[in-house]
Symmetry: C2
Subunit: 384 residues, 2 copies
């Protein structure tokens, strides 16, 4: 296999972009990544997106975005793995370069969610779950996560407030990220008055509906030209899956796909959890954070929330997470999120994270999830 490096990153701010279409957002991120990489040619473009068909009446994003970029002609395809679609596109870009067939490809994740009503978005997001055995019974995606959070609280004797450090950390980090959706800190005091979304999941526990796009340029490590000093190596790329329906899992409180995907990635990169300096995890709902920390090997079963309480997730903590705001505060434009995570992890390894820079960051992990931890897509990055 060829070694694969990230030689350019780009992103749009995460916002309610009522003045920009899906293709415009995607191209804005791609052009930024191409400028960053000092490239003007690509062998292929891989697009991560979940809901463009349902929300904007447009499939076929590969060709559409290549066309809008002015690169009509190149290979262009779309990947989907529910909320992990962005990670899936990174995976495809990695394989295309690793195979040796291509020198330089781009990956872009994009989602446009705010042009339709929240009810339409909610129906769309339920398509990440099992349509015939979960969604058909009327349960929404947030409600599935609420069931999981309730059970987790019951089994491990926790209360809602125990999850607060995750939102507080994410919002604090987003303050310094100009691309983040939210630029306001939140406090434990506010938790007492927060609106409930799906009991016990409150607004504090939920990532927002939003628009955005993020992009990467990937190239063979042997082919870096002037990009060497800022290039970041992709040391691992691994995907695993679990049963889609929560009721089909032997143990709903253990994210098996996260464990499998993390373990495969650690083996490929020859690292241990203790070697990970930055962990961009998929904090779509705050319940996902401790469960991801546990299944990925950073905390014992049922103890993930204590990493929040004890400050271990802070920028100077043992396992910094959501360093640019995470899904909670940077925002979660579904199919774009997995690419934002890799952009941010690479930015940390380049030492370009500004006030949010994690000291001595050499190894970073980005993990994109589809469904309730159903698909887990893990990339480990290293700065040589």
């Amino acid at each position: 296999m060829q070694n694969v490096s990230i030689v350019g990153v780009g992103q749009t701010p995460v916002r309610e972009h009522w003045d920009k279409s899906l293709r415009e957002l995607a191209v804005e991120a791609l052009l930024a990544a191409l400028r960053d990489a000092h490239k003007d040619q690509l062998d292929a473009i891989y697009v991560g997106n979940m809901l463009s068909g349902e929300l904007t009446g447009q499939e076929h994003l590969g060709a559409l975005i290549a066309d809008q970029l002015g690169m009509s002609g190149v290979e262009a395809l779309k990947l989907e793995a529910a909320c992990g679609a962005g990670g899936a596109a990174v995976r495809m870009g990695y394989l295309a370069v690793a195979s040796g067939q291509f020198d330089t490809v781009a990956v872009v994740g994009v989602e446009k969610m705010t042009d339709v009503s929240n009810a339409v978005v909610t129906a769309g997001l339920a398509m990440a779950a099992d349509g015939e055995y979960e969604a058909a019974n009327g349960i929404s995606f947030v409600a599935l996560n609420a069931l999981l959070m309730r059970r987790y609280m019951y089994e491990y004797d926790l209360v809602e407030e125990d999850f607060a450090p995750f939102a507080i950390n994410a919002h604090a980090n987003a303050l310094n990220n100009p691309y983040a959706m939210f630029h306001r800190s939140v406090t434990r005091e506010q938790l007492k008055h927060v609106k409930m979304v799906s009991d016990p999941i409150s607004l504090f526990d939920s990532s927002p509906i939003c628009d955005g796009a993020a992009a990467l340029v990937l190239s063979r490590k042997e082919n870096l030209n002037g990009n060497g000093p800022r290039a970041v190596h992709i040391a691992a790329s691994a995907v695993a899956t679990d049963a889609v329906a929560l009721h089909d899992r032997m143990d709903p409180l253990w994210l098996k796909a996260v464990e499998l995907s993390s373990q495969k990635a650690y083996a490929q990169a020859r690292v241990q959890p203790a070697d990970i300096d930055v962990f961009e995890l998929h904090d779509a709902f705050s319940i996902v954070t401790p469960m991801s920390l546990e299944a990925a090997g950073f905390a014992a079963r049922g103890t993930g929330v204590y990493m929040g309480r004890d400050g271990e997730i802070a920028l100077n903590g043992r396992v910094p997470i959501s360093t640019m705001g995470g899904l909670k505060a940077r925002g979660h434009p579904i199919g774009a999120t997995g690419v934002y995570q890799v952009v941010e992890a690479a930015t940390q390894l380049r030492g370009e994270a500004g006030p949010n820079q994690v000291p001595n960051a050499h190894v970073a992990m980005a993990q994109s999830l589809g469904g309730v931890g159903t698909t887990a897509i893990t990339h480990i990055l290293k700065k040589d």
Copy 2:
């Protein structure tokens, strides 16, 4: 790059499968391919599908189908490129094995179209076109092809009847394919009474709305075990794109993506058009057939229809096409079609095509298109 072989093929009949769900169809095809390959383990599953979200309220097909197959845990992702989604999944499976990361993966294309009204399907198919500049103005996908056919007839001084040999050939070949949707021959006489769909496109010129799934097992050539004698080598895998909107093309009568993708594939496989013994092309509408034959290098500009008139597309002709019925008569379950094409091309090279066997078939080409020739995905297969 590792050499990639097809070691197993599987397919469901193309029908209106009202008694089977999308996941059941996919698993039926996958199990058939696994049996054919004598395999019971996979490293990954790549799914081709266009419209499951819009038509059945289900995204996240990768994990869903892996789960239904009893292989929850493995890598599983979905690819989409409009009507070329099946070809896109083959492309991803090829890269995953060619990269050297995986030994054995499966590809499955699946579409379930007949559980909803034709109006819903028509709206879904329009998402292959440019949503903001074509579909938003009310034009359907068949109408776009009708505009193209009308212009082609005008430029090259043709009438509807000149296209009849394509449907007659496809239906004749489908008679001997138990998996084909239609088992009735059609005649030139019937053309006089055929219903118009979108003038000048009649029922004779249109592929049907239907359900189906097809699957492949791909493996490293060095790793064939007992499958050697029946294995088929993937000698080329190439994708190209064109402008999505017809009005954005300098020359709407020339399928640039077909030309680019074919030329890339010929170079990879080190063959010329004259070396191709079987060409499974994307005859979604009969206008696509001559335009594909021209852009892929089998006929001069504006002369593709004469290949039909002169019998060159027959099983014993110069360039046999639609050898098992093609999209017209085997059927066109959108995201499955690109995989059906590769299954049929491999079947020809194995010499297992029964009464439809093309004599001395050593090199076969399968070409999956998304949109009006917007995305072209070409695979060339060889039997060593």
